[in-house]
Symmetry: C4
Subunit: 274 residues, 4 copies
């Protein structure tokens, strides 16, 4: 009897937490659809004319999703070999926080501000992708970004320094008349300009301000080359590390095609076990 | 007699479908000019003051183009060795859809909405380019984009996740007063900002909103480095593979290191004269 | 006597057309300053309140520049061994067109429209740089851009095709109410959005239009990776061609440091004549 | 006694100027926090409603920061082995200028315009980072940017030439009615457009202006590839040079190919153990 429960639990675990079996895959796909549908409903609920017309429908759907996600949460706790570890893991907390807001809305007024929390359900999609082959591609990207982290930090630090100094200069040059009402706002404008976003809600009016703004734009236009260069160099290296770093035992050459069996230079058999 | 028709048909086929002969090239160039002229006419027809002044002219030209394209369509069917295969091919359907709207406008009111379909004539230009040497360059680009497809998909997925979460946060922070009237609209704003487009039709007004917006901009400014890095790495690889396009005479594999003497797969001597 | 004139002419030529001698360098620097000053005066003349205050001064300066440039033009003709060749060369025509507008303004009313022509004086700066060491760097850039010309043409062609089709779709979806008054204007909006410029003078208002706009932005954000990738690959190649493509005569290896005397692998003397 | 003072001074120097010891690190961190806090206070002081509410608090804090920075400045002079060299060094002047404005505000009216100078305190952060391991990453970036300086100068020169010519053309085409009131303003608009910032405070209204604007945008979209390509190529090279940092024991040269056995310059065997 107890053995049955254990084996059931193990089976459930493979369905709920893994995606090797057909049942596991089906479970993941249904969950993916439910999460996306639930986030779309949360989004549409905030559109005024849709909320007016379909509020009861939205609420019913929201409860349906919450109950399904609650069931899933309980299943995960039940099938987990160490339930507490799951509950306090990152994804365990995300799972919990994605169902709490709806229950809270029964007791607390102003539940609108829990919307963000409900949208965090999207993070649960990350778990599903974690199980798939997408993760390998993600690894190359992540490794490249991690390797270039210090370089990007130095770069960002320099940019922020620049942005504060230029922002202060624009505040003095343009002043409140052109919308540069304070240094923080001027810094905001400088970021908007340097990143080439350019809303146009604040724009320099004086000739001197426009000259400085032109310099900021051209700088921003050139500066974007730096993170791009950093990431490209890191990705090239990260790619190379994934390829073949083998040395030919005969002629000591490197640079073989990934998966190569024979040396391109001397024809020597590279890897006996391959 | 029947032989004559067959040889005529083959000749027509070489003119209409190919571009090796002088006649075929002339046909392609005339067709290219007609397509461009027809799309320019469709565009200009939508400009109010031009439509008021020249509507009869536009209609006459449109009928002229339609009749010419209809003739071309019939010629293609006639000269095709397997007409049905052509009719249901991608370009066959594009050819058909590029003449239907004008005929439909005789019977259906509101033909304006078929404009899009008429603009799709542009797709037919793709066929002409398919025959030229431009296609090789296109292949390098396409191969690079295809090879980086999964990486770009992971990247886009992460960006979309981010965009939905940030959009929801901005909706809660800024609210309807600043134009963030719903989550979908806030998501739209986030995309406008992250991609550094920055219309300025919606812009954050609260200090907290502007701080979050600044983070989004700097993120967007850095994130653009990722697809650029991906494509550059893939293009470098794609270029390299085209560099040494030698086929191993023993195992028929390509993709050897430039200057390789031995096949990396079977160790066969690649180039005796090297 | 005639010999004297000839030698004078040759001397003048070395001053006016070359920059090896001290006199030639001084001439170039004075000319550079005059051109920049003249273009700045032309620019400032268009600022309403400056024109009102200083019009007589501007006109005097303009005549001074014109007379100096005329003298220079005559000197160039005189010192040129084949005057006609110079007059009808690219820079000869630029030199002529940079002095004509001021003389024409004596006879023709509406000389304001010759302003552009006066600004073309800037092109003469290109000649000065042509003589300096900057030209080498320019060559690497130009070679890289030329080599990637066909690829960029294919890329631009595809982008234009896309822009026309998306522009037409936006025209049908949004219509005149949101400012998409005609297909040409919608195409203009699509270019503004795809290139991430985003003026905001026209912006989509309908949900469907905003969804399509979001797709255009994300596409534009990703598409920018393509020209960057193309140019980076070409520049890497162009750089490499400038470096050492020598093969070691002893071990047949390539990839030596530029200017290397000895093979990094076997220590063999690479280039006897070096 | 004198020895004690000397050793004290040396100890102070290691705390104030270096960051190897625990005391030195603590000093740096406290200084970093003080600088950031002081700049944040300067920024917030410019926000109208905060200044109204908390002006006395801001002034007290400002005096507190100024006195602390003055103490630090005196300490630096005292502990410096050659005080005059420190006082007239770059960071010595920055230290001085970051305390002067507050003292000046006692005597001079209009101290608001010294704000910029107070923000320059941020530059002092650069000194702290100079002592940390971040500096290595910064070196790679700086070296890459320096190496590509001439190329970027040629590129920027060409862009500025283009910007002036296009700006003048837009002035003639659009005229004052669309906001292109002068050539300098038109040049400003061209920079705003070419860098894809796109405020939208000035936007072309005529069809011809919009066509030219479209060309500028597509150019700007493509041109951004050039600095990115330059920096990427330089960074790749700069990375490679750091990879093999071996010095030839015979001729003291660096920059060998990774894995090189012999010096490329003198043919000396580089690494016996390799």
């Amino acid at each position: 009897m107890k053995k049955d429960i254990l084996s059931n639990r193990r089976k459930l675990h493979s369905i709920v937490f893994e995606s090797e079996t057909t049942a596991g895959k089906t479970f993941d796909i249904i969950l993916l659809i439910l999460i996306l549908a639930s986030v779309i409903i949360v989004s549409l609920e905030t559109v005024t004319y849709l909320r007016r017309a379909y509020l009861p429908l939205f609420q019913k759907l929201e409860w349906a999703f919450t109950i399904l996600f609650t069931l899933e949460y309980l299943l995960r706790i039940y099938s987990s070999p160490r339930p507490l570890k799951y509950i306090f893991s990152f994804f365990g907390l995300v799972d919990l926080f994605s169902i709490i807001p709806t229950y809270l809305s029964l007791f607390v007024i102003g539940a609108q501000y829990f919307l963000i929390v409900r949208v965090l359900r999207l993070l649960r999609i990350a778990r599903i992708f974690k199980l798939t082959h997408f993760i390998n591609e993600g690894k190359v990207l992540t490794r490249a970004l991690q390797a270039s982290f210090t370089k990007i930090a130095v770069f960002l630090g320099t940019v922020l320094l620049l942005v504060v100094i230029i922002g202060s200069m624009m505040f003095v040059i343009e002043g409140a008349a052109s919308g540069f009402t304070s240094i923080p706002k001027s810094i905001y404008w400088t970021i908007v300009t340097l990143t080439t976003v350019g809303y146009g809600d604040i724009a320099p009016q004086t000739p001197l301000g426009q000259i400085l703004a032109s310099c900021v734009m051209i700088m921003g236009y050139g500066i974007i080359a730096v993170p791009t260069g950093i990431v490209t160099v890191e990705m090239t290296r990260s790619e190379k590390q994934l390829t073949n770093s083998e040395v030919c035992p005969n002629c000591q050459l490197v640079g073989h095609v990934p998966g190569a069996k024979y040396c391109y230079n001397c024809g020597y058999l590279l890897n006996e076990s391959a």
